[in-house]
Subunit: 507 residues, 2 copies
């Protein structure tokens, strides 16, 4: 009750909040399709047979009851749910094909659907690293610095997790500090851990305060997102489902991402891996629609392959890229927004980190993922959030965004007059067409160094990693906090203070 | 005359030559199309207007006469050729839509056309580098080592230039040494500099010897390739055209690649850059068909952008990638095989080198380039051939090849039995399906290290650059020369010895 009172003090005055440039990235090119229609049918059929015959292990009694009430066959002893395809397909009918993620800065509202693309930073890394400090356990200072860096780059649309785990602050109240930092250091929509009802409720409350809306309004305006990972194969965690149910009751979107690592947690063949991924994702997404038909949901694809020599996960591999492209086809088949990632398994910010990231990004972008998670800063298969990799990824994301801008073809861009003016064997540096267009003609890189070898050597011969380090430090120095009205800020702080007292008294 | 006699001593015994695995890479996915039909029409129309109204400066009297005899308007004072679109389109009708590059090892014969992809190594770099030796002027030892490395990787289909310029051997006879090394250290089809008739003839003669065929047969079997770069804007070098004419007379393919660096050698807008590239490429390709209708030719696309601050070329940029995809559409419009590249402008083997390469590769592969030049080893915008980058590129090319293998979907790959066997929350490492498939299921990388951070650190914490160095040195140690029959080898050596005497006596 107290909480509701506090929230009402917050007001929304968009005029004070709007500053950043509106930008929604769209992919105007057709997706790359790696599966034919009949192959898609076979994978679909395989996943339906998995749900009908093998079943999904659901470690949550409330969820089991919901499935059962909806007509599914539930074996309460084994906690297995068997879903038949007709009912499942009917449930999926109510998943919105698109929704808007609302932010406290309305210019950051983002479409999740159609050919929109949204980039979200690295999430849930237990470690962080930079050149000077090396690799360390995740901490709140680094967490806040990733928030600050994110705020400086329009290419990042919203969050879908904590960039790095702030292990140095109390786990009981960490979610409060994390949300407060996110809502004051950035103007992006945030995310919460899908672990149990209490934390989810805090996240939703703070989001309502940050946005200056009541919870009824929030129910209609998705504003905070979460992720449910299945414990593949075919097992779903109980706490996560508590969270999912609460998110669904509040109309907030959940990304359901099976962790299908081929050869380890699913079949070693991509067809089997995709069928299992599809079964797990659709089976859990269906629950959200039983709870609250029309709740926005996202189909997460994360299928990759294990290194069969060590068992460790590999990322940005050919198999990963094909799975991302195929997952996009599956998600489109069910008309559900699709989430992919920017991954790599490198242990340092070297060429491998870049080529695996590029393989992932092309799979995600040309698979028409509407949310590309871990888009900036992910290293070591997600075990480390790297500040330098964050900057390099920003450059790669911006390059990708520019690549997706169609070529403008008209009399002016054909520039035949400039060709005449330059003359045979001449040059274009000084033509009037060049002078009129040179400031905006090309993407200007953040990290790429195009000097010749001599100049580059004289400047110190720095690698992209070293240059990214300089850029990240400078960006932190140049950080400008987003506008936030004082009452919103103090309401958020008051909420956190009160909840901290409550939670600490429970320990 | 003497030469012809020597050649006849060579015999072709394919049974002795065939050892390597046959492999032709195909791209089964649809190309990415960045231009709509009407935009393609506009660029086509722009390039036709360039050729009709602005003209092509052709610094070669023989070529001017050929154009004129064919009905083109020639201004002999300015050396400008004006080509009207009807005649030009008619000339292009005879360009084969596909051809086979023949090698002395028949298993290395490669299709250039349809959805085939061929990778050729870095070409014409003036410098070479590796970790220990640093950057140095190109030399014959490094040239031979690039030959040896190439021979060890099936992913490289043939050559389209000298990987590095062997500056330490005499320019007068360098082409003889280069060809002899290529034909004895590798079994791939080779390439020659398109500079004047004499060298071209030597290249063709040596190719006939290496293949054990006479020149009449060779005319019908493309076996050696060359590149003509235009001196953009709209100027074509005289010596290169001598070479092109001789290549065409001998039925050997030439890649025509305008060097259209937007903002420097062509308009700063991509539409204008592409229209000019198209005009230059088609104008020169037409000449080959006047000389010898049906000569195989390749449409080269190399449009990139200049760094407008320094004027230096940038590669693997968003503009570069879009231009590659658009160039593929243009080449397909005229039904001419398309050549693109794997480029980057980095000065060291770092993340930038990798992400710019990946941007190039995706543009080339999804632009359906049938020849991807500079596919392995290119650094510094082509000014350096790097041994480590060569190895990293091989890994990236092999990954791309694996990405292009369609996902097999059938009852066995869906693996529902394996899912049952693993059980809910179980693992797949020991399922019979995994055990039956684990050795071939996934691409096994050359350079990527997927160890966890601790293991990787214990192994020395090596970057991809350092690991590639170890691999390249080991590969050179493990080098196995291809089979070549003794009479072919001695005939080649005799030819080189005699021609060397002739050329040295002319100095």
């Amino acid at each position: 009750m107290r909480r509701r009172k506090i929230r009402r003090r917050a007001t929304r005055d968009p005029s004070q909040l709007i500053k950043a440039e509106a930008r929604q990235l769209f992919n105007c090119y057709a997706p790359i399709e790696v599966l034919g229609e009949s192959e898609l049918d076979l994978i679909h059929d395989g996943s339906m047979r998995i749900l009908e015959d093998i079943g999904l292990e659901v470690l949550n009694e409330k969820a089991l009851a919901l499935y059962e009430q909806d007509g599914a066959r539930v074996d309460w002893d084994s906690q297995l749910v068997y879903l038949d395809r007709e009912r499942l397909m009917e449930r999926l009918q109510t998943v919105p094909s698109e929704f808007t993620m609302h932010s406290r800065n309305l210019k950051r509202n983002r479409l999740v659907g159609r050919n929109a693309i949204n980039f979200t930073p690295v999430a849930s890394a237990p470690n962080s690293s930079d050149l000077e400090g090396g690799r360390r356990t995740g901490n709140f200072e680094d967490y806040c610095n990733f928030m600050r860096l994110t705020q400086g780059f329009d290419i990042i649309d919203f969050f879908s997790g904590y960039p790095v785990e702030p292990v140095d602050i109390s786990p009981a109240t960490r979610h409060l500090d994390a949300a407060l930092a996110a809502y004051t250091l950035t103007d992006r929509s945030f995310s919460l851990y899908c672990l149990g009802g209490g934390r989810v409720n805090d996240g939703i409350e703070m989001t309502a305060i940050a946005r200056g809306v009541d919870r009824e309004t929030l129910k209609k305006e998705p504003s905070i997102i979460t992720v449910v990972n299945t414990n593949s194969p075919l097992r779903v965690d109980g706490l996560m489902l508590d969270g999912l149910i609460e998110m669904a009751e509040n109309g907030q979107p959940t990304i359901v991402t099976p962790f299908t690592l081929a050869g380890a947690m699913c079949p070693i063949t991509l067809a089997g891996a995709l069928a299992q991924q599809n079964a797990e994702a659709l089976g859990v997404i269906a629950l959200s629609q039983i709870v609250n038909p029309g709740t926005p949901m996202v189909y997460g694809g994360f299928t990759s392959n294990a290194d069969m020599r060590s068992g460790s996960p590999a990322f940005g591999t050919p198999e990963y890229t094909k799975a991302a492209l195929a997952s996009g086809q599956l998600a489109r088949r069910y008309n559900i927004p699709f989430r992919s990632s920017n991954t790599n398994a490198s242990n340092c910010v070297d060429a491998q980190a870049a080529w695996e990231s590029q393989m992932s990004l092309w799979g995600a972008v040309m698979g028409h993922a509407q949310i590309i998670k871990h888009a900036a800063g992910w290293l070591e298969g997600g075990l480390c959030a790297s500040f330098e990799k964050f900057i390099i990824d920003i450059d790669m994301l911006q390059m990708m965004a520019q690549t997706l801008q169609p070529i403008e073809v008209n009399e002016s861009t054909l520039a035949l007059d400039a060709i005449r003016e330059a003359g045979h064997g001449g040059h274009f540096f000084a033509t009037s067409h060049t002078l009129a267009n040179y400031t905006t003609a090309f993407y200007e890189p953040l990290v790429s160094d195009w000097s010749n070898f001599e100049t580059w050597s004289e400047k110190g011969g720095l690698s992209a990693y070293e240059r990214a380090n300089i850029i990240y430090r400078q960006r932190l120095k140049d950080y400008e906090p987003p506008e936030i009205d004082e009452s919103t800020k103090s309401t958020l702080e008051a909420y956190v203070a009160e909840r901290r007292d409550e939670l600490e008294s429970q320990i």
